[in-house]
Symmetry: C2
Amino acid sequence: MNYPTGIKKSFINKETKREYKNLGMNLENDINNTNEYYINKEIAYIYKKPTPIKLVKVDYKKGRIEEAYFEKPSTTDYNGIYHGHYIDFEAKETVNKTSFPLANIHKHQINHIRNINKEKGICFLIVRFTKLNKTYLLMAKDFLLYIDNNKKSNIPISYFEEKAYLIKEKFYPRVDYLEIINKLEV
Amino acid sequence: MNYPTGIKKSFINKETKREYKNLGMNLENDINNTNEYYINKEIAYIYKKPTPIKLVKVDYKKGRIEEAYFEKPSTTDYNGIYHGHYIDFEAKETVNKTSFPLANIHKHQINHIRNINKEKGICFLIVRFTKLNKTYLLMAKDFLLYIDNNKKSNIPISYFEEKAYLIKEKFYPRVDYLEIINKLEV
């Protein structure tokens, strides 16, 4: 179990553990490892955005935040540049074996994905089905095609098998998603 | 004086007020207003990244951060997409009338600006000289040209007059920096 930097284990109860698993900490680590590889090899500069925080009480003299709350991000988690192109994606894990629950992606994020896709950014989702040991890259256009034509609350695994690209897991980089983007010749 | 969202006035002492002025809260508001305009008009999707925070004590049950510290950002503050191109910039205010102090830009940020420039991103600084009522856009290549050839701790205003572009302040959008980018035909 990986905890976010600086969080003491004692503050994380069982419920939170489960929640964190769903939030995809392991996939997050793999993507951070991959982005680090891209930066070191001067291939691409893609970073995870910090989680937005609502500050309530701050001791500026000590530079210490004393009360604050996590906020829902209105954009995706990762963005950056690859050969001059704008790259933008969201990464999610699910323990579900048959489908990806759409509750994982907020309304504002869907709106953002729609805007970036329209503006010709290279935009996609990375979805890991942890129980199946499979990580897919689903392009924004195919994601939007599904949600605009289906009133369901999840995307079945069959849609990923048909439209998405399986990312082979390697040692380093762990999830080489730009290999897929290269093949698509975007 | 504008305070960051959710910060109570009582926690901000005189010293912090001065510091915040240097950190460019007014320019930040003007840029947020401008980015909002671009989003509403479907011109570009450019966002400010949240400040990175090091979490120390979190009550996950209540979703409350009880102890955390501000961290220095390793990248620039703003990035996004404009007609498929990657846009990346840093915004700074200074009360100095004759030069822009380079202490305002961290080493990691300079490194980031260098990487983005090399990778053909549209990268620049927006620098406001508050006492002169002037806001300049300095392209990354010209910024790097200066710091790579001068061992000084600041960039004189004459360099901005020579190499940078003056951004006319308007009512809405307040700092129309994409107007400059358009003229450069990047």
